[in-house]
């Protein structure tokens, strides 16, 4: 909620409470970055959300929400090769999408600084995996930095651009959810003026990695990494602090937990905090190992630094006890906390934890069962109406390949319309595979943003190979899950320019889909059920893909519009006398705005939560749900 406009202020020395993502958006300005391209993904999304508001106000700056991460990396990579500072941002799985250009970029290198921000998500707060992206740096030979908090997120970013330019290599800037989504006081620095357009100087035998070129670039790359290591050895981003017999090597957010733990436990230790985690400062680590008999490695997810450290100890014959994940002191799963660090340190030095956590856990276990409250589709979400119709039309018997977005929440009862999912775009392609080897109807669903990001190749596959799949595109006019970013179907760009929106129905037709219709889920549920039935029949009869585009804006957008414009619409309510407490509305629709009043034992609509979609009216067999007169 720090306003993006505040991030634009040319006011060095000013301190604001910023998320690391906001600090990075500010860092873009202070580093003189000329171009940022990204596809949104939590926990990195607020970087783009801020930049898109800031972008039109920054002279010579260009920002785009790219179609997907591969596109974003290529757009940003080319800019840095042309000679301006650039940035690409993604969540962990986004780097998988961009992996192909990632490896080539390291081979060809860049002429101006380039940062690739990858936000990993230990504990998977909003991701499909908690893979550790740091191995990309290792595999691709790309330098890497890991900030530990919002303050470092900005200061280290400025250093990362210098580092990138020193070695003509992009730098992978790896954050985790607890860095991205932590707020801390961040102090502004100077904003330089951005360069005008540059002239692209041709150098095809560097930038076109045909085998003969690539063969020269690989040794070059390895040499650059070794040069980068020399700087890593002396860089203040890799520093030691404190004193003590015990040594602790740490990086990223864990560094904070280590510091808090030492204070809480009232013990001494020397910390080696690594900011540059590739190439690691080998000499510095060896010297650190030689100084201590026991060294504990504290890092979330994989034993990345730990493995390096063990390798170095072996290579240089240092006799030191290295303690970490290999002996089970730390887990490879989930995020850490001061408690996790303290419990491990207490086991290592053989003392009691400062708080009796076992006792607290015991007490917590004795609490009688608490009803779960998982995330779910919002009250008035158009996806709910569409899924209700899909399920009703196919009586729950079809296979429902799903995709990534708010709509994946339809996995929960009573909608239960998510059966298989790998990654963005897989709804269409898994449907293709399933339709060939089963005899069941296959009704896939995909969001509008995901459709553009990675749905198109699947559609081409379905058309050309004549897969009898049904696809419902849930066109809620936004990328809702990640915070309502525009996409090519919305008609707004990252620069806030109004442009011609791509029409999903036209796109499908253009790709050769013979059966495409646009439907409106709030118009008539019965009508929608009929449309789904017809589509399913057509796909079967014609052995070809059929598509429905279900178009209705995200309820949060409509609600925000109403609030902004002060519009008050007639309310929905349950007529108590007519409601016979059959609970069909609750059991079939699960709208969070409805509940059973425990006293009257009748359904009620909580008017503070209802988003006025009207879907429940169609679900009630008694006609008990009504709308107030205008």
């Amino acid at each position: 909620m720090a306003k993006p406009q505040e991030l634009l202020e040319d006011n060095p020395g000013k301190t604001l409470l910023l998320l690391a993502n906001e600090a990075i958006a500010r860092g873009v300005l202070e580093a003189g970055v000329r171009l940022v391209a990204l596809y949104p993904g939590t926990p990195s999304s607020e970087i783009g959300n801020n930049l898109t508001v800031m972008a039109p106000h920054i002279p010579n700056f260009y920002f785009e929400f790219s179609t997907n991460e591969k596109v974003a990396l290529e757009v940003a990579g080319a800019a840095a090769i042309a000679g301006v500072r650039s940035m690409m941002v993604c969540k962990g799985p986004g780097l998988n999408v961009a992996a192909d250009p990632f490896f080539s970029l390291a081979y060809v290198g860049v002429r101006a600084g380039m940062i690739i921000i990858v936000a990993d998500d230990p504990s998977m707060w909003s991701s499909q995996n908690e893979n550790d992206s740091r191995y990309y740096a290792l595999m691709g030979n790309m330098p890497m930095m890991e900030p530990s908090d919002p303050i470092e997120a900005k200061s280290m970013l400025l250093e990362a651009y210098k580092y990138s330019e020193m070695f003509e290599l992009p730098v992978l800037f790896r954050t985790t959810t607890r860095v991205n989504h932590t707020r801390a006081p961040v102090t502004f620095g100077r904003i330089p003026t951005l360069p005008q357009k540059v002239e692209f100087e041709k150098e095809p035998f560097r930038f076109v990695p045909i085998p003969s070129v690539a063969r020269t670039r690989h040794p070059w790359l390895l040499k650059q990494v070794e040069k980068a290591r020399e700087v890593s050895e002396t860089s203040p981003l890799n520093f030691t602090e404190g004193e003590g017999e015990l040594g602790i090597i740490t990086c990223g957010v864990s560094y904070n937990y280590v510091r808090e733990s030492l204070v809480e436990m009232d013990i001494q230790a020397e910390i080696l905090k690594l900011g540059i985690t590739h190439p690691i400062p080998e000499k510095k680590i060896i010297a650190f190992l030689c100084k201590h008999k026991r060294v504990v490695i504290v890092e979330e997810l994989e034993p990345f630094i730990e493995t390096h450290t063990r390798r170095l100890a072996q290579l240089h014959d240092v006799s030191v006890e290295i303690l970490g994940k290999e002996q089970g002191y730390f887990s490879r799963v989930g995020e850490y906390s001061p408690r996790i660090v303290m419990e491990a340190l207490c086991r290592i030095i053989n003392c009691n934890t400062p708080i009796n956590w076992e006792e607290i856990d015991d007490r917590a276990r004795k609490i009688p069962e608490i009803p779960p409250r998982p995330p779910l589709l919002c009250a008035g979400c158009p996806h709910r109406a569409t899924y209700y119709a899909i399920r009703a039309a196919t009586r729950g018997k079809a296979i429902y390949p799903s995709d990534i977005g708010c709509y994946t929440l339809s996995i929960a009862p009573p909608l239960e319309t998510a059966d298989i999912l790998f990654d963005m775009g897989s709804s269409i392609t898994t449907a293709c595979g399933l339709s060939e080897v089963t005899d069941q109807d296959v009704v896939a669903t995909i969001g509008d943003s995901t459709f553009f990001a990675s749905g198109l190749p699947g559609i081409v596959d379905a058309v050309y190979n004549q897969h009898r799949i049904c696809l419902v595109v849930l066109d809620n006019r936004t990328t809702a899950m990640t915070g309502h970013q525009p996409h090519p179907g919305t008609g707004i760009t990252g620069m806030q320019k109004k442009v011609q929106a791509l029409d999903i129905e036209e796109v499908c037709k253009g790709l050769g889909v013979k059966y495409v219709k646009t439907v409106y889920p709030f118009e008539s549920i019965a009508g929608l059920v009929g449309e789904v039935r017809e589509m399913v029949k057509w796909a079967r009869d014609n052995h070809s893909p059929a598509v429905l585009v279900s178009k209705e804006p995200c309820a949060l957008l409509t609600a925000a519009d109403r609030r902004r414009e002060g519009i008050v619409l007639p309310k929905y309510y349950v007529e108590s006398e007519t409601c016979n407490a059959c609970k069909r509305c609750l059991n079939r629709l699960s709208c969070p705005a409805m509940y059973m009043n425990p006293e009257t034992e009748k359904a009620v609509i909580d008017e503070t939560l209802c988003n006025l979609c009207g879907t429940c009216i169609a679900v009630c067999p008694q006609g008990a749900i009504k709308r107030e007169a205008e």
Binding site: M1, W125, R373, P375, L586
Partner: protein, 204 residues
């Protein structure tokens, strides 16, 4: 045992996505920063926000390096809803203070008859296993009387300051509210915070 960073106060706020937990955490922390205090806020975005359970953490003081609050370390637990308070009760430290709104928002699992909402007495009993310092009132009622259910988080803001546990003056809090929201919601928000403040004060 000596708690060396006792100069740090840890506040956990628990509620339902959409109730304004994140906004409250930010505005509270911003006010602390304006008073010259070091602060960290831990937020959860994305999937975790879609009407599900949400927790936010605020840590104020020099000892605050990271945003995380472990079990048994929160000085103050602020619950926007009874079961959501109970869900995070393990965070509270011995004799820590709980401020809870009694207004119930039924989880869908309860509406669908797949789970039961615990009785009020059983919720209070379980909370009582962790601490005796519990302040309870209907914050939704105050919000609605102030003019909007959206002011719920400002009622809780006032309530937090009413405990006297957070080193922030009411004046700077009210200033922060004025600066953070559009003018036309100002009266509603200020009234909500004032009433939250006085309600909790009168409970002490």
């Amino acid at each position: 045992m000596v708690r060396n960073n006792s100069n740090t106060i840890s506040i956990a706020i628990s509620g339902v996505g959409g109730q304004g937990v994140l906004t409250l955490a930010e505005i509270l922390a911003k006010t602390a920063l304006a008073e010259g205090l070091n602060v960290r806020v831990g937020e959860i975005h994305g999937m975790a926000q879609r009407g599900g359970h949400v927790v936010c953490t605020i840590r104020i003081g020099d000892g605050a390096k990271g945003p995380v609050i472990d079990a048994g370390t929160a000085d103050l637990l602020v619950g926007f809803e009874p079961v959501e308070t109970l869900r995070e009760i393990h965070l509270i430290k011995k004799n820590g203070c709980v401020v809870m709104s009694s207004h119930v928002q039924y989880p869908v699992a309860v509406s669908m008859g797949q789970a039961e909402y615990p009785t009020h007495e059983s919720i209070l009993r379980s909370i009582g296993e962790f601490t005796d310092r519990v302040i309870e009132f209907d914050a939704m009622d105050i919000a609605l009387k102030s003019g909007s259910s959206y002011a719920l988080n400002m009622v809780m803001f006032g309530a937090i300051l009413g405990t006297g546990l957070v080193p922030i003056s009411k004046d700077s809090a009210l200033r922060a509210i004025r600066e953070s929201f559009p003018k036309r919601f100002e009266k509603i928000n200020i009234d909500a915070a004032e009433t939250g403040f006085s309600t909790v004060k009168s409970c002490l």
